[in-house]
């Protein structure tokens, strides 16, 4: 065992910098295998001439499964991002004190030196709009906005004193998923697939599903690979048309014809290889064959109609319509097939109170209603299949909402709403190595600041990587002269939540 660890360490050290790697492995196949972090450059070079005839199963595949730095608790992640940011004060962070201040002017000391996205002047306080009660053995507070989730709280760890640095959507989403508020860094899912590869090489290792009628504000960058090779970027499976772009054969070309064309391409490429001996050709042959398998496996994985009716019912899925609930069920199907990182985005949680859809008392209830049953069903479904033990589910927004009612441009708004808030919000995690039925962190009486066990976005990221078996300070990639990592120069593992 020690010997193995030493070997891994040595390999990791060898691969410590991409530059070192590029230096020894250079372009071509090397560029392909850039990310095989623990594969070891020497290993790769030694094996290359033999490895090339083994089709898609070669060890120098950048997405081949790899071991993490130490024994992981979680093998895969489903990250549910409620884009726009749900109000923690309506859902989880019960603040009876806040109700007493409802309608009163916000005290000046809460406003001094603060900047908000839209609140101007002196806003009024807004009491919690949900009816709260404690649930389960663990006695977790969940409001009547989420009746189904109430039934699974004993599988969940709540982080109630989360905080972030950014109060606008796009930068805050970037910070949450890439560790930096600026564009250009790899996303968490890219880091994870870079580190761990995928367990099913007929499917992309990192899949993104979006619902809510709009992409998240920060766009594709939150599942981009940044400076990591593009093989690690999230592949967005679409809910209409081809799940993966161009996965369908052209109209009038059936699978058998496609098979024959790919065979012809492979044969001719093989002949070309015999002539010019460029190993890149063999990679290309393998990639065409993989593409052919993906044409089959992706639609199969995405075909929800293969699920029995009782499963569809438990999630509340209409199989003919794209929806968040459908994406939850797809997420289960995907992790079941070995996809490493599934990221769900649901747009429409930005409740400022400027319209009915964006109102705490109307729009937020609708969003909860549309998602609650499916999220609870997902946890139950993963559990009954034994997947919850090594699948980590994370749920949250990019920031929190203010205890004050928004008064955009100093005006009274037609509906109840809360502005963006960076000092306090709730994220929850379940499965894959976190405690069950646990709550961590507290905010003050009105839910304005975290007062105990605060968790920064980088701490959450460090913890997720830890659960996957990585030291977040060591999962690095050399770029522009220095090693970069998901947690930038920060991040502490939240040890008390580990099971």
């Amino acid at each position: 065992m020690n010997k193995l660890l030493d070997e891994l360490k040595r390999a990791a050290a060898e691969r410590e910098t991409r530059r070192h790697f590029l230096y020894t492995c250079s372009t071509g196949l090397g560029a392909m295998a850039l990310g095989s972090m623990l594969g070891g450059c020497g290993f790769f070079e030694k094996d290359k001439p033999q490895a090339i005839n083994t089709g898609g199963q070669q060890s120098d595949e950048p997405t081949a499964p790899r071991s993490s730095q130490y024994l992981p608790k979680a093998q895969r992640v489903i990250y549910i991002h409620m884009a726009g940011s749900p109000s923690q004060l309506e859902l989880f962070d019960y603040k009876p004190e806040l109700a007493k201040y409802n309608g009163k002017d916000c005290p000046q000391e809460l406003l001094e030196g603060k900047k908000f996205a839209f609140i101007r002047g002196v806003p009024k306080m807004l009491g919690p709009q949900g009816k709260f009660a404690q649930h389960g053995q663990s006695g977790a507070w969940v409001s009547d906005y989420l009746p189904h989730l109430q039934g699974v709280v004993d599988d969940i760890t709540f982080l109630k004193a989360m905080h972030t640095d950014q109060f606008n959507h796009a930068p805050a989403q970037l910070l949450m998923h890439t560790g930096s508020a600026r564009l250009g860094r790899p996303s968490m899912g890219s880091w994870v697939t870079y580190g761990l590869g995928t367990e099913n090489d007929n499917l992309p290792g990192y899949i993104v599903l979006a619902s809510g009628g709009k992409q998240p504000d920060a766009g594709k960058s939150i599942w981009g690979s940044g400076f990591l090779p593009t093989v690690y970027q999230g592949v967005q499976c679409r809910t209409d048309g081809d799940p993966v772009l161009y996965a369908s054969n052209p109209a009038g070309m059936d699978r058998d014809i496609r098979k024959q064309t790919i065979e012809a391409i492979s044969q001719i490429n093989q002949q070309q290889y015999e002539d010019v001996k460029d190993p890149e050709i063999l990679t290309r042959i393998a990639q065409y064959e993989l593409a052919f398998r993906m044409q089959m496996s992706v639609p199969e994985a995405m075909d929800i109609k293969r699920e029995p009716q009782y499963i569809l019912d438990s999630y509340g899925v209409d199989p003919n319509k794209g929806s968040f609930a459908r994406n939850c069920l797809l997420a289960r199907r995907l992790v079941e097939r070995g996809v490493r990182f599934v990221q769900l985005f649901d747009w429409g949680w930005d409740t400022h109170g400027t319209s009915a859809d964006g109102a705490i008392e109307i729009g937020l209830r609708t969003k909860c209603k549309e998602s609650d049953q499916a999220v609870a069903a997902l946890l139950k479904d993963l559990k009954q299949r034994g997947l919850l033990d090594d699948t980590l589910v994370v749920w949250g927004g990019e920031f929190g909402r203010t205890p004050m009612q928004e008064n955009r441009d100093g005006q009274v708004l037609p509906f109840m709403g809360r502005d963006h808030h960076l000092d306090a919000f709730t994220v929850w995690m379940a499965g894959g190595g976190v405690k069950r039925g646990f709550s961590y962190g507290e905010t003050d009486d009105i839910g304005y600041y975290g007062v105990k066990d605060q968790v920064h976005v980088h701490d959450l990221q460090a913890t997720i990587l830890h659960l996957l078996g990585f030291d977040h300070t060591k999962l690095t990639y050399q770029f522009q002269g220095r090693p970069f990592r998901l947690t930038d120069v920060a991040g502490k593992i939240v040890k008390p939540v580990l099971a």
Binding site: R19, Y246, I257, R258, N269, D275
Partner: protein, 921 residues
Amino acid sequence: MKYQWLILGAISIAVVTMLSAFFGIFEKRVDYNTQIKPLLNKNCIACHGGVKKAAGFSLLFRHEAVAPTKSGKPAIIPGDADGSEMIRRLTLTDPEERMPLEHPPLKPDEIETLRNWIDQGADWGDHWAYQTVEKPDVPKVGTFWSRLGIVENDEINWAKNEIDHFILDKLKAEGLKPSSETDRATLIRRVSLDLIGLPPTEKEVSDFVQDKSPDAYEKVVDRLLQSPAYGERWAGMWLDLARYADTKGYERDGGRKIWRYRDWLIKAFNEDKPFDQFTIEQLAGDLMPNPTDAQLIATGFHRNTMTNDEGGTQDEEFRVAAVLDRVNTTWDVWQGTTFSCVQCHSHPYDPFVNEEYYQYLAFFNNSRDEDVTSDTPTLRFYKSADSLKTLNLRSFILSHASNPKEARLQADYFTRLARTVEPKINSHDFDQLVNASLLDAKYFGFQDKGSARIKNVTLTNRPRLLIAWGTKADDAVVTIRQDRLSGPVLATIPVPKTGSAWSDSIQMIPLPAIQGKHDLHISLSSPKMPKEWVMIKWVSCVPKMAGQPENAIGEQEKILVDVLNADAEQTPIMMDGSGDLVRETRVFDRGNWLVKGKRVTPDVPKSFPAMNAQLPKNRLGLAQWMVSREHPLTARVAVNRFWEQLFGAGIVETVEDMGTQGIPPTHRELLDYLAVEFMETDQWRIKKLLKKMVMSATYRQRSQVSPEVLAKDPFNKLLARGPRVRLSAEAVRDQALAVSGLLSHKMYGPSVMPVQPEGIWQSPYDGDSWKQSTGEDLHRRALYTYWKRTAPYPSMVTFDSPSREFCQLRRLRTNTPLQALVTLNDPVYMEAAQQLAVYMQQEMTPEKQIRAAFRRVTLQEITPRKLAVLAQLYRNTEQHYRQKPEEMKQLMACMDPTPQLAALTVTANTILNLDEVITKE
């Protein structure tokens, strides 16, 4: 293993000691750059360098390294290794004290090298790439007699120019031999794809194959360098560096019209604008004397930074982000140096200190763009009638000014005002807001009884206020007072009713003659509709136009205002502020823009030759400094980039980093030779540089490789064979369109929207949508495709294009299944296959048809084995479609389908996917 090291180490120490004892005086001097710096970088500098200075000891600069550390004693005493704490700590056995901490000890020979170096005086050396380039001697090839031409020699026969001498020299040292010239069809395809991004036609190939003249190849090269497609191909490369896009980026990612910059690039490459001029115009065209429109458009290079229109975001934060990006991009593109590290701390490895970052930033910090939604400053292109008005205004001023000097100054001032609507104060700078707000955090708005202050405005000789504003309210009136909210009234003006606060109208208001700088206080009275906003986008105090009355707006001034309000196409440009609008630059503490430190003025890092005192301390001076003969990096970086484009890897493989952490050059002398030639002999002409490269025997080699050579040089660093790399995203598409006959050669103009799958674009804010182009615009070259940063054209991204949010210096080539799906199934490639099938039908038999298509696409004759594979595929497919006419009709969509044509389409689709097709061989 360990014992071996120990024994080896012991022996080497013994040998070194003996040698130094016997030959002390002849002892070889240790070279800092090649022997010491790598050791320090690897083992020491992470803790004792630009970021951390553990125990007060840093190895970044010599003066730091020999200075007293926290202990009070220097760790390095030049000339006394034994007395140097550094050597002592390296050789201890106690793991608590021995350096490097928690890492394996240095090897004995490494320690010995360090010891010798200190004993010899611990001299520092500059990193090779930071020293002014000197022209190295060209290595000789062949034997003495063969050089005289008396005997035949392989090397002499092989080598075509100096490049080959350098390459041969290295090959010989490594025991390798170069490859022979590749066949002519492969060669012309290679050089065409490289120089113009398109394959040659069959006729061009056969002409070349049959041309027996000695300069047949050179004629092809010259023709390609003259082709208009040349500019398109190289502009395509530069667009990644310029982070060019047709949208602004960030959350809203609205549209931006900056395609004129792209067109400028194409023209600049085509007219072979010397690289020094090319550099100066892009970085500082606006600061050149009497800049032309083209020079202003060129500054679009640095206006390709992103603008954040998301509601609630602070303009200043993203203005600063854009300026930082300009600094980093300038270093990345022209200096091949990772300067961005220095934003937060001194460079961890290279000799730059934190403050130097901000001195450099000061060159860029004075530009007038401030992250406003309108993307100003812009250069405006008026319709001809309005354009004529500006010309008339100019001549009016010239004939009415009091003296010629004044005439010239005023004419330039107002022409510039009309063309750029600058200078102006953006309303996000207003303060002391009462009953007012920055609406959507963008522009100032106020309601009835609202007020605000415009700070410190120079009014001397500026008795006109230009203001861009609007409202929905009736009878809203604004009063402007001097110095205080209750101060003397300067003007009272009704606000134009524009239908919405967000739509503005530009007005000119006469002010009394006032001297000096004053605060202006504006207050609003809007009793009829007190809740309706009045929005002001910007204000500007300007001089009175010559020949116009003192106290009222004159006729010519009204014409100017009409022009300012006229519809005009705009392209973002750089423009510096002067007078009140000059910005001071301060160091950001640990890179945080909110925490300002010491004030700095523009300057270049000390590790480089100083700026000539004659040069202005602005972007223009900076650009001129960068292209001076003494500058060590600009030419090397440029040469390396062009080399990488042709050979697949740079001479310094890390095109983005020539610093001490970059990969050392494979052929440093060649790089320096080419850099000096580029600057001196070629006078920075890129076409001459490229011609030199493609004329070399090195470039013309066969790309086939033997297992022996592959084992010895798997990544072709030594160039014993020709380059063989996958085509770029642009070339993959352009080639498919070209060989199928679909490609449009139309140049320039707004970006186009070819066929794209549904659902890629989401633009909830400005309602932009992908409106599929029509006619030939469907089949334009890839560089004209509309580039939306948050949703770039999918097949381009699949083939490794960056998103263009930031400058990307090098596309790492990947080889993925998603690429296969694009060329197999993307409708663009199917359309190409259908067209190719129609072409194939001209031949009579399937074999002849396949031969013809294969020749057309690969420009090679098909081998019998490959023909057999494709013929079999054709037969199976034809039979299939004979039995399934419905599928046949679907496949051929709008064509008259036959089983033969359907089978040919499938065959063509197969050919277009062959490795040899998407690879430059």
